[in-house]
Structure formats: C-alpha cells, structure tokens
C-alpha cells in the first residue's frame, strides 16, 4: 500500500434497515464486491473492486443498495484533475498503457446537442404520421450515373447490389469474443425482425447465426479472423474494417484467455492463442491496395454483395472518403471519435480522431463537390444516442447510422466502461458462461426491437413536423438544421446557419 494506494472510486451504500442478507448481490457480482460475514450475519463489501455496473442495485429486492461516487478526493486542482493524477499513479505502479472501454467520456463538444431541427408553420403543413404515410425505408449502395434503355426503349432496371433497411439505422460491428453469444443472438434476431442489419465485427460468424445472413454485415478486418468463402457469402454485405473511431490507427488484441471454445472455432485460431489484429491490413498500404481488396471480395462473391469500407474519422477524412468512393466500394462507414470499444488504450481513445458530426458534414460536402455523392452511400456512427441524433445525421447528409452503445444499453449495459475485464455482470461483454446466461436473447431481442420501434416513431414525428414524408427528402437537407452556440467556422464546416438566421 502506501504510495501505491488509490482510494476506491465508488462507495457501496447499504441501508442496513432494508438489507435482508439474501445474498443476491453477492451472487450477482462477478467482481466479488459483496460477501456475507457469517460472524456478524451481515453483508459487507469491498468497494475497491466495484465498477459501478449497477447490477447489485438493480437486483436488490429491497432496494437496500446504492453506489455513489466516493467523496474522498485529492485536493482540488483544475489543471491536475483527480483522474489525471490517479492515472499517473497507476502508470507509475504498473509501467503499462492505460486501457479503457466504451466511448470517450471526456467533456468534448457534442455537436448533435448544438443543432436544432426545424418544423413547418403556416407556409406549409406539418403532417400527422398516424394519418399520412411516412417512409423510412432506405437503400444503401452505389447508384448508376446514367440510366440505360434496351432496344425497345424500356428502362434497364438492373442496379448494383443494394442493402435494404426498413429504417436508417444498423447495429454496428461488435465481435463475437468482445461480446457474448447471447448478445450476438439478440442483435441478429432483432435486426431480422426490424428489417435492418447487424454486424459481426472481426470475430467471424458463429455457425448458429448463418441463418440470419440476410440481416448480417460480415466484417473483414486486419486479422482476417473467421474469413472464408462461406462467411463472405453468408452476409448481405461485406465490410472492410480499416479503422475504428475509438482507436484510429490502432489494431486490436483479444487475449488468449478469451480465445476458448466457440470463440476460437469462430475466429478460426487455436484455443489460448492471442488474437492480434494489426494496425494496418498488411495487404493495404495505400488506396490502390484497398481497391484490390474491394474487387477481390467482389470477385469472391460474384458482385452480388455491396462492399462497405469502414474508417475512423480522422483529420483528412474528406480526402480519404473521396478515395474510398473511387475505389469501387459501395458504402463508406465513418466512425467518430466518441465511438465505443471493448478495449482501447485510454490515451488513444481520448485524443485521436475527430467528432463524427464534423466528419460527416465534411465528407458529404466533399463528395458532392466532386459530383460522386450518388456513387456511394454514407453510414456514420460514433455515438448516435437517440432518434434526434439520427434525424440530424440524415439531414447533414448520412444515408444511415450505425449504433452500438445504444443497442448494448438496450440489452442491459450500464456503461460502467470496464468491458476489458471480461466480467460483465450483464452478460454482454463476457465469455463466462455463468454471466452470459444472464442475458436472455428472447428478452434482449425484444428490447432492441422496442428501442428501434420507439426511434422509428420519433423519426416519423420529426419528419411529419418538417412536412417530409419520406426519409430520402431529409437526406442532406441541411436547411432543416440550425446551430446554436457555435462559431462561424463550426457552422461553416457543418454547412448550416445559426438559429435565428
């Protein structure tokens, strides 16, 4: 102890009058915070292990528990904040890179919250979604530049492969390994029921889930885990993962301890071996190499599947996106710097990349300036938190949004940001069978369907208010947005006017 000691971040407050010592908290906590003191017949806790996942709070039958932030703090200092100092202690103790999970929690600007949406008054009518049809269906994929006719002058209606979504939202990539079998099952079943897609992430596709293929994006990442012909053919689309918003420029590392059983089989690597995803694809050191992979995948799947390329939002994202649009890819997915992760170096997560709102606006405008926006679809993610964020993203120019954190929250995640420990008490970010079974896919998928239905209703209400009855008339419709509390430069990049203008 001594110099190495860091006071626990949270305190477990147990109302002794309410506690009946049923020991539910003890059984529920994989972190082993709670235990029963037989000598005094009371529950006690070791708060140093608590991650504030709220599992015990949620399941305590007498509401005897709460977790609060510890008020034992270091002397206040606006420059040297508590967390900053503690991180220094940790690194001085361990000599290691700090690891974190989920999205960047720091108070960086959230541009969604500085954008306001329009509504119709007098000069044109708002529409009632229950009364008028409101269309949220979108098609993602390359659109032909010129129409063609056959010899009898009929339109030739063949178009490059498209993904059809019932609403402009998809579940973003999360690998089997980083999340559990039941989490994957929930996502796959919900996507199928809603008519959208979920994404395998880079961990391959469990054999049980091939039947959800029509609603699956299969990912090809730098480690190429689980990639083979059947896998590529199983999905509705193939995504080449070049980068991730939470850790641009960084590869991945799933420790050998988690490569067991089905995870090992699905990833097609031996049990116990570390799954290392290199930072680059070692066959892609440049844009022309990407083009070759895009066409290799198209050849392998006979040009029947759209190819997506996912990149992290970095400084020159507009130029990168332009290059991707000309690489033969059908869809670009851009992941913003607030995007989530199962594990990332803290410093990278919190300091590399740019906000998705700015990246989206810049990319959409750049592709239009080059006249190639219709050649490629644009999917964005990296902290889309609500239907309002979706509406704003579409109006800025996105075709659809990726959500992952919101989906995990629907499954029970309480955003304790310790996925890297593998001890997820909610059965999501864990491979421990005892924990995994806490997530019931019947309930999980139902909750995801509920969430998406709720968002769809809200999106329709927004659209109706604007007098728009089809989502495509909202796409890129930046006049429907106004900024509040932003600088001229921010407004210029977003391509919107300030409120009142």
């Amino acid at each position: 102890m001594g110099v190495e000691f860091i006071y626990p971040e949270f305190e477990v407050i147990r109302n002794e009058n309410r506690c009946i010592a049923c020991r539910v908290c003890e059984r529920q906590c994989a972190n082993e915070v709670h235990f029963f003191n037989t000598e005094h017949s009371v529950m006690v806790s070791d708060e140093s292990k608590c991650v504030n996942c709220q599992r015990c709070v949620s399941l305590c039958p007498t509401r005897a528990l709460k977790i609060v932030k510890s008020d034992c703090t270091l002397r206040e200092n606006s420059n040297w904040e508590n967390d900053t100092i503690k991180e220094i202690y940790k690194q001085a103790n361990s000599g290691g890179v700090l690891l974190s999970s989920m999205g960047n929690p720091r108070p960086m600007p959230v541009y969604w919250d500085k954008i306001l949406i329009n509504a119709s008054q007098v000069t044109n009518p708002p529409l009632d979604p229950p009364r008028e049809p409101m269309e949220t269906r979108v098609f993602l994929g390359r659109k032909p530049e010129k129409i063609e006719r056959d010899e009898t002058d009929k339109l030739k209606c063949e178009i490059p492969p498209q993904i059809e979504l019932s609403m402009p939202v998809m579940f973003s990539a999360m690998s089997y390994g980083s999340i559990s079998y039941n989490a994957h099952a929930s996502l796959a079943r919900a996507a199928t029921e809603i008519g959208i897609l979920y994404n395998t992430g880079e961990g391959g596709l469990h054999e049980d889930f091939y039947r959800y293929g029509k609603n699956t994006v299969v990912q090809v990442a730098s480690g190429r885990f689980g990639v083979y012909k059947d896998y590529l053919e199983a999905g509705a689309a193939i995504e080449i993962k070049m980068g991730q918003g939470a850790k641009p420029g960084i590869g991945g590392h799933l420790p050998g301890a988690k490569i067991i059983g089905d995870v090992s089989k699905t990833r097609m690597i031996p049990e116990g071996s570390d799954a290392i995803s290199p930072a680059p694809h070692h066959d892609i050191y440049s844009i022309e190499d990407l083009r070759q992979l895009v066409f290799s995948l198209k050849e392998a799947t006979e040009y029947k599947k759209p190819i997506m390329v996912k990149v992290a939002a970095v400084h020159n994202i507009a130029a990168i996106a332009s290059g991707i649009a000309r690489s033969g890819a059908d869809i670009i997915a851009i992941d913003g710097f607030r995007g989530g992760t199962g594990a990332a170096p803290t410093r990278i997560r919190d300091n590399v990349g740019i906000p998705i709102e700015l990246a989206l606006a810049a990319v959409d405008q750049r592709l239009r300036d080059e006249g190639i926006r219709n050649n490629i679809s644009l999917v964005i993610g990296g902290s889309v938190r609500s239907s309002a964020d979706v509406v704003k993203a579409i109006a800025l120019g996105a075709d659809a949004c990726y959500i992952a954190t919101a989906a995990l929250l629907a499954l029970g995640c309480h955003l304790c940001r310790t996925c890297q420990s593998g001890k997820c008490n909610w059965g999501i970010a864990t491979q421990n069978p005892e924990l995994v079974k806490r997530l019931n896919p019947d309930i999980g998928s139902k909750r995801l369907v509920n969430l998406m239905n709720a968002w769809r209703h809200e999106i329709k209400e927004f659209m109706g208010g604007m007098g728009i009855n089809s989502i495509e008339a909202l796409r890129g419709n930046r006049l429907m947005l106004r900024g509040i509390g932003m600088t001229e430069k921010e407004l210029e990049i977003l391509g919107i006017s300030h409120a009142g203008e």
Partner: protein, 364 residues
Amino acid sequence: MKSEGQVRIPSGCAIAAVISKEGNKMSGEMITNAMKPMHDRSNGLGGGFAGYGIYPDYKDLYALHMFFDERATRKNCEAFLKERFEIVKSEIIPTRKIPSVTDEPIIWRYFVSPLKSVLAALQLDEKEFMVRTVTKINTEMKGAYVFSSGKNMGTFKAVGFPEDVGVFYRLEEYEGYSWTAHGRYPTNTPGWWGGAHPFTLLDYSVVHNGEISSYDSNRRFIEMFGYKCTLQTDTEVITYIMDYLLRVQKLTLGETASVIAAPFWSTIGTKKDEEDKKKHIFLRTVFSNLLITGPFSIVLGFNGGIMALNDRLKLRSMVVGEKNDKIFVASEEAAIRTMEPDAENIWAPAGGEPVIIHVKKGAY
C-alpha cells in the same frame, strides 16, 4: 434585408395554364384574365407568364429574355454574347406604362444561334452549351439576368399582380398554342423581377404553387451536376430537376413524375404488373434524392406540351378542365371558368398523378 438569392424565400401562389391540343393559337389575353379571380392568391410581389409558339418567325433561334440593371451592363453582356452567338435580332421587349407596375429594369430580348466553332471547341451539344451560358451569365454577371432561353417560347415576368403584368407586357399582342401563368405570394422578399415566375431553362418553364420540404436535399443533389441554385426558390430547383431528368437522363415525362412525386413504397409493393413494379423500385432507388416532398402543384411547360403534377399527398389545390381542343389547369376552378365558362369534365388529379398533354405532331 437580404436580396433574393442570399436567402431562401418560401411563397404561396396561384397557377394557371391552357393548351390547345390542335396547336390553335390563343392570344395572351385569356391567360391574363384567368389570374383575376385568383387575385388573393398573390400579394403583388410577382407575376409572370410563359407562352409557347409565340415566335414563329424565329422558331429555330434561342430567344433570350433578359433584365439589366443599367446600360453598361447590357453593353458588357452583349459583348459576351457576341463571342458565343450569332445575334440575329436584338430589341427592347415592348411594354406598356401602367401605374401598377413600376421600377422596371432594362428588359431586352435577343434571338441567337450558338456559333458552331464555339460548340466544336467546347465539345458540347447546343442545349448543354445554352444551359452553361445561361448559368454563367446568371451567376457571374452582376446586374444581368436571363429569364427565358428557349426556342419559339418566351417568359414575361415582373413585380406586380399577374393580371397587371400581362397588361404591362402587352400579352394580347402575342399568339401561342399554350400559356402558363403564375401569381406569387412570397413571404419575405423585397420583390425582385428576376425572382418572379415562371422559372425557365431552355424551353422548360415551371410555375409552381407550394413550399417543398425537400428543398435543400434536392438542391444539394442537383448542384452536383453543374446547376447553381442562385435564387433559392422551389421553382428554380424544380426546373433544374426537370431539365436533368428529361434532357440529361432522358427519362420520359411519366418516369420523371414517378421520380419527383414517387408512389409510396406500400403502393409499389401492391402493384400487380411486375415490370411496372420493377421500374418504380428502380426509379425511387436511383433518384431517391430527387423525390420532392411537401406541398406543390406545378405546371411544366415545354415545346409541344405541358405536364401538370401535384405532390403525392395532394397538399395543394389544382384542377383540370377541358373544352374542345383545349385543356385548362388552374389552382382554382374559377380561373378555368374565366378562360372557358363552359369548360367540361372538371376534375382534381390525384396526388402524384401527372396530367400530360401533347400538342398534335406537326401542329407546333
């Protein structure tokens, strides 16, 4: 207050149109009078007309109707035109001084033919060259504005009530086989002559009543193809969409209507004719950004015909009537009755249902 083009200007409106399927000529007086009973649909900040078949003596030449702010602008512009065109005739457009129309700019027209050598050097066909030239003048030449650029047709527009604008331009002296008209009710314009409607490009003219909610989505898409929406009005962007779909993509009128007022997916889903279904899915998928939502009723004029179209929810009034060789379209039946008291078969086309009228071949 910002002038037009610097700010988006929504407006309500009145529209009317008449066409003879036989190609019989009508003076502009009838369409002028048709606007009178719809007086309250305009607010005096813009009125205009388009007449087709009105320049038979120059029918192979492009008729450029232009506004200039001053003589020097006109002189400069004429120097520019001479580098690109053979100017067969140039003249002031005759007008009549009336108290209700004032502050007119210099209003001129030119009958021109693009120089073959220029076309060859630019490797452009004639129409594309015209479009680029008009866009160049309207975006780069301060104080000069082309408000009509088709063959054997012309637009006449001004700040004022439409029935007064017709008198101002002496429309009774023109004879055309089809006419369209527009009265404007803008909500925040200082009133600018160029901002009145119809809006035209080549022989396409559009009169429009409504305020589309898809405006910026449509604008940002169409601007990828060289168009510049300098006026920020619905009518302007609709005209460019028409030009792009009809001239550039070579869609038919019916297909164009299926893009901009596309049937709902639920309607497409229940179509029995598989080929028709495939076609609609194709058009909605490929041109999804050209779907126009929000209220609109438009009449598209072109050489040899018109197309009237409502938004797919029919959020604006528009009725059609007929009598003998003539078809009438207007925001209100009263306007049709003014043109033809005995008009028959008056009906309101359904939302998204195009009414396409062609003049008999060889009659225009």
